[in-house]
């Protein structure tokens, strides 16, 4: 059965002065809709490259990538960007909130390029901020928030366009244990509601809670 994501023989090389560096050496993987996957591996193993490749921010050197049946390599920059904006939400270790905008504006930034199809973006942004417990912080700027609050804003932003896939790059890496657990619980809750979640983590406890673990070693799937 074709999954949400099907990749086959995916390779990524970065040309360097001393010769090309092979970040991924033929990864084959299938992800079904609604899965909760942790990608683990040592630093420099290629797990981040894999994550951003799945997020269509990196173009593979060779191999095949199908997202929901679409050949991603054949899409133009505009088509790929729109598909990414609509179907994929990103959560980063360092949150990436823009300091010049308020909490609400940061969440709404996601609708700047891909407005949600059915709902009014502001109403949805308010609902999402209420859901992550920040409805009292709408007009605050990121500098006035704690790390945990910032990550919750970032999750609300990732959910604005109601994407099917959530990609999280070390989402608890900058958080203390308690806040990290809250964020993990939120991601698990979203997964239970039907979102496909793929995250990178160095945290064994967080990885252990994922239904499926993919270990990457030297640019290949280890187990």
């Amino acid at each position: 059965m074709p999954g949400l994501i099907d990749i086959a023989g995916l390779r990524k090389e970065y040309p360097m002065r001393g010769g090309a560096v092979q970040a991924l050496r033929g990864v084959t993987l299938s992800v079904q809709a609604g899965e909760y996957i942790a990608i683990v591996g040592a630093s420099g193993s290629g797990k981040s490259t894999l994550l951003y490749l799945l997020g269509m921010l990196v173009t593979p050197t060779a191999g095949q990538y199908r997202f929901d049946g679409k050949e991603v390599q054949t899409l133009s920059d505009v088509e790929r960007s729109r598909l990414r904006g609509r179907e994929i939400g990103f959560v980063f270790q360092s949150f990436h909130l823009l300091p010049q905008f308020t909490v609400l504006e940061n969440v709404l930034l996601a609708s700047r390029y891909c407005p949600p199809a059915r709902e009014d973006p502001s109403r949805r942004a308010l609902q999402l901020l209420e859901r992550v417990g920040l409805s009292h912080r709408l007009e605050h700027h990121p500098a006035e928030l704690s790390n945990g609050e910032m990550q919750r804003v970032a999750i609300a932003r990732a959910l604005l366009t109601d994407p099917r896939l959530l990609l999280a790059d070390e989402p608890t890496g900058n958080l203390d244990e308690r806040t990290g657990n809250e964020i993990t619980a939120l991601l698990e809750e979203l997964n239970r509601e039907g979102k496909t979640v793929i995250l990178i983590t160095h945290n064994p406890a967080l990885a252990g809670r994922a239904a499926r673990r993919i270990a990457i070693k030297d640019g290949q799937v280890a187990a």
């Binding site: 981040s48 490259t49 920059d77 823009l98 709404l108 390029y113 502001s122």
Partner: protein, 422 residues
């Protein structure tokens, strides 16, 4: 609340680094301000010169008597002996001109007398000019009150005069000058008219300000003051005989100007081999002035281009710094679905907006600066309306031009490297 549009978002991004943005647009502000300032001040000079030339009459050929080299040399030697210097256009020349060039509609002689003008004991700083009744028509100078000199004044050599506007006000600030008597030299003349305000015509000579002149009949000047004008110096007397200082030839049709001027020049060269006559065309002066104006415009355009270039390089510099600093933001926008084109437009929008703000401030500064310079120098400042939209458009064009490189660099950033560059 809607997501911010491109321009509002660009504005907010610029406000994030207020002082940096302000410094970046300084070059544009100064560039636009200097252009506005220069054009407005040169516009005044242009209008002034143009109107002075036009007041000389664009259908006229001007024949001036000039001091020949031989006379000037003799004056310089200054032997102390008394002498008579005779040169310039004579009454006989006028008759010859009338007889040989039928294209000339009117021959208007003007003779300057070195006499003082008084009303009672009050002396006026005015030139004394003798001319014929054709003066107002040929020089396009209207009468304000009373009448100008008439044919009868001329034929009977009557002691009447017409005052220039400023001279009338200077001599009779509180009374009506009409029918009052003024003294030219030691002789009384009755005021029969006052000319309207005209403004300077040409430059330099006693004839250049008709508003500070008293006019008397041409014939009266010879009948009452003789043909010699005597200046008494230390131990010597110097007499000059110039019958006509300036002759204005009115031509029926502007197309005939050049041929008439050439014919007059030929005729005068034949009759005045000492080189004491000069023929000029106000129309040609205007043409020449327009030519030099075009050169001036090129020079100004180059200065404006250089200052905007410098301003634009400043903008490029700041925008490159912005792109480098906002790499994670660029990565984020790409992750949120922004295309390369959308990232390009965002940064291009910011640099255009930055330059537009600089342009508007520059317009304001330019107007203020021009007014200040005008006030200090006592000039009236005239603004060419076209320079405002043009200045703004050029500033925005500089934003587009110099913002392209940074914006392209932003659009081509590898999103993953950009996200990790914190």
């Amino acid at each position: 609340m809607r997501p911010l549009g491109l321009w509002r978002e660009a504005w907010r991004n610029l406000l994030l680094h207020r002082s940096r943005s302000a410094l970046a647009i300084l070059g544009i502000i100064f560039g636009v301000a200097s252009v506005i300032c220069m054009t407005s001040i040169s516009e005044v000079a242009r209008r002034d010169v143009t109107s002075r030339i036009e007041r000389l009459g664009l259908r006229n050929v001007i024949v001036d008597s000039i001091k020949p080299q031989a006379v000037a040399d003799e004056e310089r030697r200054d032997t102390g002996a008394s002498r008579i210097a005779r040169y310039g256009v004579t009454r006989a020349d006028l008759e010859v001109l009338k007889a040989s060039l039928p294209q000339i509609e009117t021959v208007l002689p003007i003779r300057i007398l070195s006499q003082d003008l008084y009303a009672g004991l009050k002396k006026a700083e005015a030139a004394v000019a003798a001319t014929t009744p054709d003066y107002p028509r040929v020089m396009e100078h209207a009468i304000s009150r009373g009448r100008f000199l008439t044919a009868m004044d001329e034929s009977r050599c009557l002691p009447v005069c017409v005052l220039g506007y400023e001279t009338a006000r200077a001599l009779f600030p509180l009374e009506d000058p009409l029918d009052r008597f003024v003294k030219i030299g030691s002789l009384p003349f009755r005021v029969v008219g006052i000319l309207s305000l005209k403004g300077q015509t040409g430059t330099g000579s006693a004839l250049s300000n008709p508003d500070q002149t008293v006019f008397l009949p041409f014939s009266s000047s010879f009948a009452r003051f003789g043909s010699l004008q005597i200046r008494v110096g230390q131990g010597s007397q110097e007499a000059t005989q110039i019958e006509v200082h300036r002759t204005v030839l009115r031509v029926a049709d502007r197309a005939l100007l050049a041929p008439v001027a050439q014919a007059t020049l030929n005729l005068m060269r034949k009759r005045h081999q000492a080189g004491d006559v000069e023929v000029s065309l106000p129309y040609a002066l205007l043409e020449e002035h327009r030519r030099s104006e075009r050169i001036f415009l090129w020079v100004m355009g180059s200065i404006a281009a250089i200052s905007l270039l410098v301003g634009g390089i400043g903008i490029m510099n700041i925008m490159l710094a912005n792109v480098a600093e906002r790499r994670p933001e660029i990565g984020l926008r790409r992750a949120l679905g922004a295309t390369q084109g959308e990232v390009l437009r965002l940064f291009l929008g910011e640099s255009i907006l930055l330059c537009a703000v600089g342009g508007v401030l520059g317009l304001g500064a330019g107007i203020g600066l021009a007014r200040a310079v005008g006030a200090l120098a006592g000039w009236t400042v005239a603004f060419q309306p076209l320079t405002f939209p043009l200045g703004l458009a050029v500033a925005m064009l500089a934003g587009l031009l110099f913002g392209t490189l940074p914006a392209r660099r932003a659009a081509r950033l590898d999103p993953v490297l950009a996200l990790r560059s914190e």
